[in-house]
Amino acid sequence: MATVDAELDLVQERLHDNAAIWTRAELLTFFNDGYREFLAKTRAVVRIHLMDVPPRYAMTYCYEWEARHTFGGPSRMMMLPNYDATKRVTSLWEAEQNEGVTPTASYAGKTQEWERAYGNETDRQFVFALPANHDLILRVAWDDKRLHPVTVREYDETDDAWFRQAGEPWWWMLGTNRVRSIEIYEIVTTYTQSYAFLDYAEHGFARSCTGTRTWGLDSEVYANNYAYTTNGDNQHQNLDATPHLTGLGWRVTMQPNAPNQSYCCTYQWEVDRHNGDTLTNSSTAQTYWWEELHGGAHLEFGVGTMRSIISPDRQYWALNSGAATNNVLGGIRDMRSSTDAVEVTHAVIPDRQLGEPDAPDLLPEQAHKYLRYYCWMRAFGRQGPGQNGALAEHYRGRFEMGTQKFRTLANQTHQDVVLVRESHDGGGRGTPPRVRLPSNYPAVW
């Protein structure tokens, strides 16, 4: 897939400008804007986002200025302004206290939604924060069951304390919170975490997983291509312009910790001896992974990762994060389940600015030409040297043609839908018109 710098080269070529009028940074900004605009207009890229229940946030905060440091991640303002916004409260009694009113008993305050699983009843909304790439919700489900969209007003007219009602989720709403968040009702307070990463900080992304379902892993844990014994071998490989050996190397010797020891040992007891420690039993010495068959240890190297998981129970669907060349080759950074969890199907936009080595790989390469049109539209439309309104307008039209085309392509079944005419009797035409009474109809008060 073509990277951004290759696309910008093409853009510059038609502008006949080597960054004298339109700088490279400016063109990169145009490209990023076009990428976001294209995805927002076409809604062509749809992703599923799963959230554990009760929801967790990357960050919660208490003051508005702290929002600056959330970087668009799933976050929530947990404290509410009070006393002319000079103070922040979590419980209603605090507001009374601040304003000199005798405090009354109130529901518990929370700073994280997961606290619902451990604490008393609260009167805070049940809010799920969406990621930075969120643009438009297409479907919300809980435990694989679709939730129905409602409004706050509808709920207000139905129930008096609906936001405290515990039970099974049936409804979702945009609610009273900030952008990129939704609320789910009825609320669930039992804590359910689908998957937990173990030793993430120490061992990086997942190389294996365990659980109650039946599954099979497709994982490429690489074997060593060659073995070496000393630092000298290593330095020779690194310094030589054309290394003698390629692939994954494994140093089969160990070095004692004691000072001034330059020995390379093949057995643990040798290390112990040089360190002056008690000698311990040692495993069979080996140089290659396959020597496990002959009594050697099982070797696992810190490279390679899971490439797919197959299960008859359900699908394990890999979602790429976008904004990097070949990012589908990366490792698993997060793993979630739709069971007992909230599932949001939404149209997405890029969640970060592309750099020149990146690739706009949420789109097929054939769509990149429309991003170039956008760059030319912006470049020719900019006031100053090189401005050309007619060219800018023309490229705007070309960009719009592309968005219309991809909006159609995103609805893949548009080619395969069989349309039928409406019935003659007008059935199924929606709600019948309301009864209209004459203006002189007597009013009853």
Binding site: S311, P312, K369, L391, H394, Q415
Partner: protein, 230 residues
């Protein structure tokens, strides 16, 4: 027309030497042909391909990038197990049909879109095995050399020439002439769509209307009771 023929016509149209152009390299001209071919494929929807996909255990969703790298949009999904075309539907219709449709297993009978780069099937296979066939509209393959020809009908090759000339004029910032050529390009696309459409129409069964006197001139109608002339 070969790529070389198309390139020569483009360069001639831009008043450039076909053998040693000054303001264009051969590579740049070939890029224009490739871009024009992409655009033509998107508009005409004339390039069709078929891929076979294995049913994976537990899998509802399939990524189009994993089926074929030239896949633009599927237009038919056919189950090899059922020997039947899957019915196109939407997640919303499936929600109306079954509360937890994602958990239902069986031989796939429906398919539904999930953006441009993946789609789902319903029900999904539990055990895996078997295949489904995806017929799709495709983007054109790259032309390999100067003797290679685009897959479009011969009459559409001129459209690629027009696109190349149009892009060349845009490179000169000659918007007036470019818009004129672009209008010709769009006109050619319209005719190209007609040609592709005719191929579709030919496959349909047609018959005359049975309505009384409908669509016939009065002079050839038998009588006022609708009896046809013998």
């Amino acid at each position: 027309m070969t790529r070389s023929d198309i390139r020569t016509r483009i360069l001639n149209g831009l008043n450039e030497s076909a053998t040693s152009p000054v303001f264009w390299s051969t590579t740049q001209a070939d890029q224009l042909i490739a871009e024009g071919s992409e655009l033509l494929a998107e508009e005409l929807q004339a390039i069709k391909r078929t891929a076979m996909v294995a049913l994976r255990p537990g899998s509802t969703y399939y990524a189009v990038r994993g089926i074929a790298d030239d896949l633009m949009v599927p237009y038919r999904v056919w189950s090899a197990g059922l020997n039947r075309r899957l019915t196109a539907t939407t997640p919303s219709q499936l929600d109306d049909y079954h509360e937890r449709w994602q958990t239902v297993t069986g031989e796939p009978e429906y398919w539904f879109p999930m953006g441009w780069d993946w789609f789902g099937i319903f029900p999904h296979a539990a055990a895996g095995g078997g295949t489904f066939r995806v017929d799709y509209l495709a983007w054109p393959r790259p032309l390999l050399d100067d003797s290679d020809e685009p897959e479009f009908l011969g009459a559409d090759h001129d459209t690629l020439v027009l696109y190349g000339v149009y892009s060349g004029l845009l490179k000169r910032w000659d918007i007036q002439d470019a818009q004129y050529v672009f209008a010709l390009f769009l006109e050619k696309i319209g005719k190209g769509k007609g040609r592709v459409g005719e191929r579709t129409l030919q496959a349909r069964a047609w018959q005359k209307t049975e309505g009384n006197n409908l669509g016939l001139r009065s002079s050839i109608v038998g009588d006022r009771f609708g009896n046809r002339p013998t």
